[in-house]
Amino acid sequence: MDTRELEGEQLSPRNGVQSGVSTATMDGGILMASLGARPGAGLQPALAGAEGYTDAEVMLRVKSGDQAAFDFLVQKYRRPLVSFMYRMARNAAAAEDLAQEVFLRVYRSRQSYEASAKFTTWLYRIATNLAVNHARDTRRERPEVTISLDEPDQETGTTMDVRDSSMTAEENLVREERMAAIRRKVEALPERQRTAVIMHKYQQMDYRQIAEVLKLSESATKSLLFRAYESLREQLKEFV
């Protein structure tokens, strides 16, 4: 990593686009948005300014006190993290809380961050630990999982927008049933297999990344994933 680039005041991309972090912060980041701007409205400049940098380099900017660099990471990973947490935590509202908690922990740990590990490995390790602990803590209080595409979520008041308008009500019902079955079967996997499947299938992470997050060897991760998918194949064959 070229430390000279990181020591500069501006987070200029390697391709030479002159849109720095300082400018982005003035244009609006999370802090600026919190002062009255529409949520997320002012985050794009920060994103544009950080193009061409690795996440680890951006995180080093966060470490040096650059708020816009943190905004960039939030905007880049909020969606993947919410979806990861949603599948891990089984609850949309809890998923958002947990994803926010991940970002808060990243922010709190910024001073101790070392770029030796890949940023996503670090991020997903935090996320996995949080999600697994949450799942363990709430195991007893969790009701039977059901998904309703019609009724709004009790906690958020939002309705899942996954219905296909081109389908009939009956087709949607069948689809809903299939989704619930998929969800139940994935959730019923042993903890490590479930985490590996969610990372592989839904986060598109490769074997090496999953192995690093789960602290396993690559071959053990391949074996773990094969067993998990084999189990899912067997249990979901009635829907295939």
């Binding site: 979806s83 808060l104 927008d161 689809r175 998918y229 194949r233």
Partner: protein, 165 residues
Amino acid sequence: MKCEEIRAVMPDLASGLGEVTPAISGHLAGCAACAGKLEEFRKTMALLDEWQAPEPSPYFDVRLQARLREEMAKPQSAWMAWLRRPVLAAALSVLMAIGVGLFVREGGGGYQPANNMIANNDAIVQAEPGTAVGDLSALEKNNDLYSDFELLDDLQVQHDVGANP
């Protein structure tokens, strides 16, 4: 290429993440078991695609901003900041270890009666029955029992009085 090697990469092949090399194609062409398994894995993967996750809610950023503001407003605890320094934290650990060591060495802090109390207890234990000291301590220790005997004696007398001669 062996079946085990194909199986190791099958999740990637089935989800379209892995490249189908000529060696893999060659194996699949000649191994019906692996080809069949891969096909089933592909169908399972397609089914798993149906489990969709919702988008972050419009409140996500607002809530995160509020939590970040709280985080920033929180005064950095001097004590915690002190602990975060590895050298100082290590020094604290060493001091604690020494403290625990001294504590254990001094007897673990358990209750230890004074020496004179131990001597007195020994004297009581060693009192011979039949001697004055032994009898007195036996009387004192068994006072309740002897009281009951007296009560029983009284009952016996009453019983005798009521008896038919």
